[in-house]
Amino acid sequence: MPVLVRIGPVIAACCADIARHADRLNRLDGAIGDGDHGTNMQRGCEALLAESQRLEALPLAQSLAEAGRILVMTIGGAAGPLYGTLLMELGRAMSETSGTDDFPTAFAHAVNAVARRGKSGTGDKTLLDVLFPLSDLLAADNKFETTPAKVAALAEMTVAMRARRGRASFLGERSIGHMDPGAASCALLVAAVCREINGGRRA
């Protein structure tokens, strides 16, 4: 499926949703971090939007890799290298395979690359607590229909976790009881992507 998708509208959808939720993401980050995750993601999405036409002209795999590079060079902080690595490695893996059947494999490869970059795994209270289960879901059915609701639940599950990575880890016990902002943005972005893939319908 993903190969059939035009990347421009996906970017636009992500950008719109991040803008709408930027303040909430900042607030989540304020509780256990430095209060800028929404602003950071917005900066990255706007950079993608500005390059949207150029990205659309590229083959999907290449366009994803290039989008990842743009995110790395504009977001900064923790989110930049993480989201950037996700797309860069997804693009790289997709260009080495072909066909949608291999998408779950490519996605799993990209998520593992993010984990290596962040020296982190599941249960550390990060966006990987959305990405790893999502990767497992895709591997099981390679469908995008059911995921939005599920990823929201995944983000919700980070509330109870104690952070072991990122700024929130500095808080120790005090990080418990708050949703991880990266997990929240990740759930939001996955929902936006799925919606676009499924023809703009809200899941």
Partner: protein, 331 residues
């Protein structure tokens, strides 16, 4: 939130523009204003590069100059610089002797510097080493976790490593010097008022009229605990005691004592805290032989201060005393 700024998005860039304009005898912008570097590099020397989010001024740009840093990369407010910024700094300052990156321990900084280092090694054939500063004892050490933050003690590491680089040490030896300095340095901070992130016009944490936040870092994130505010002597003992317990110095050990303002605490209060901290450590048998008091590693407009102690030996004392000619440190 009240700040002297034009718009939130350009605060970091506008401030950097002012900084470079104020110190153009010492520093200049690198390509596309992505980093700031010494106006004149010392030939044959290992390049020392530091960086981090904006909002910590004068750290790190204020430490660029003979005897300290060669370049510094500043990101957006509280946001690590991006790899292209760091790569640009590496390219403009490496003159063959290699590059030592000084990074404050925090995942965002680590990842961006790491990506830049990978690119510099693979694309440019640069030799790169990295020092990770983790002086903040407010963060508990846990089996699995990021470990301790890098905060004001980074200044000490940059000064000592910078002096050693100026003296001609090679990359490998410099890394060892830096690691000793890091091992000898501890910091802890207290805030009386949270920082206001310009984009959100919100304080990252809001304290009540009688509260203080103990164990804060320099990114406005909450600290280890919230406590009732106390008098200066109590606060000083609280911090100094924890530093002492963590460092376990020998009697008669020489130390550098550094009291740092977090942004909105005036010099009068910093000196007052310095006096109390000095008496504390002297009463505990240490020799406070070097001192620094000032606003060097800030957290935007946070009211608060941190106390840093570095154990000194003849070598590090000599490196601390070596001449430095930067905007913020000068002797």
């Amino acid at each position: 939130m009240k700040k002297f700024m034009n718009e939130a998005g350009s605060l970091a860039a506008d401030s950097l523009d002012g900084f470079v304009g104020a110190h153009d005898d010492l520093v200049a912008f690198g390509q596309d204003r992505k980093h700031v570097r010494r106006r004149v590099l010392s030939p044959g020397k290992v390049a020392i590069i530091a960086g981090g989010g904006a909002g910590h001024e004068p750290m790190h740009v204020g430490f660029i100059g003979k005897g300290m840093l060669d370049a510094a990369c500043t990101g957006h407010v509280f946001t690590s610089p991006t790899p292209d910024q760091i790569l640009g700094a590496i390219r403009e300052t490496d003159n063959g002797a290699g590059v030592l990156l000084i990074v404050k321990n925090y995942d965002g900084d680590l990842m961006n510097f790491e990506m830049a280092a990978e690119m510099a090694v693979s694309d440019g054939g640069h030799r790169i080493e990295t020092l990770i500063v983790n002086d903040d004892i407010a963060v508990e050490r846990t089996a699995r976790g990021t470990g301790r933050r890098g905060v004001a003690g980074t200044l000490v590491v940059e000064k000592i490593v910078g002096a050693a680089a100026e003296a001609g040490l090679d990359l490998f030896s410099l890394k060892a010097v830096g690691e000793s300095a890091i091992a000898a340095t501890r910091t802890m901070g207290v805030a009386l008022k949270g920082a206001t992130v310009p984009q959100t016009t919100r304080e990252t944490f809001v304290l009540g009229e009688t509260e203080m936040e103990v164990g804060v870092g320099i990114h406005g994130e909450p600290g280890r605990s919230r406590q009732d505010i106390a008098d200066a002597a109590t606060i000083a003992s609280l911090i100094c005691r924890q530093i002492l317990d963590d460092l376990e110095p020998a009697q008669g050990q020489r130390i550098l004592l550094f009291v740092n303002g977090l942004g909105a605490t005036p010099p009068s209060e910093l000196y007052l805290m310095f006096g109390l901290a000095r008496r504390f450590f002297e009463a505990h048998g240490l020799v406070v032989c070097r001192k620094l008091v000032g606003t060097y590693a800030t957290s935007l407009d946070m009211a608060g201060m941190s106390i840093t102690v570095t154990l000194l030996d003849d070598a590090s004392l000599g490196l601390w005393d070596a001449p430095v000619h930067s905007a913020a440190l000068h002797w």
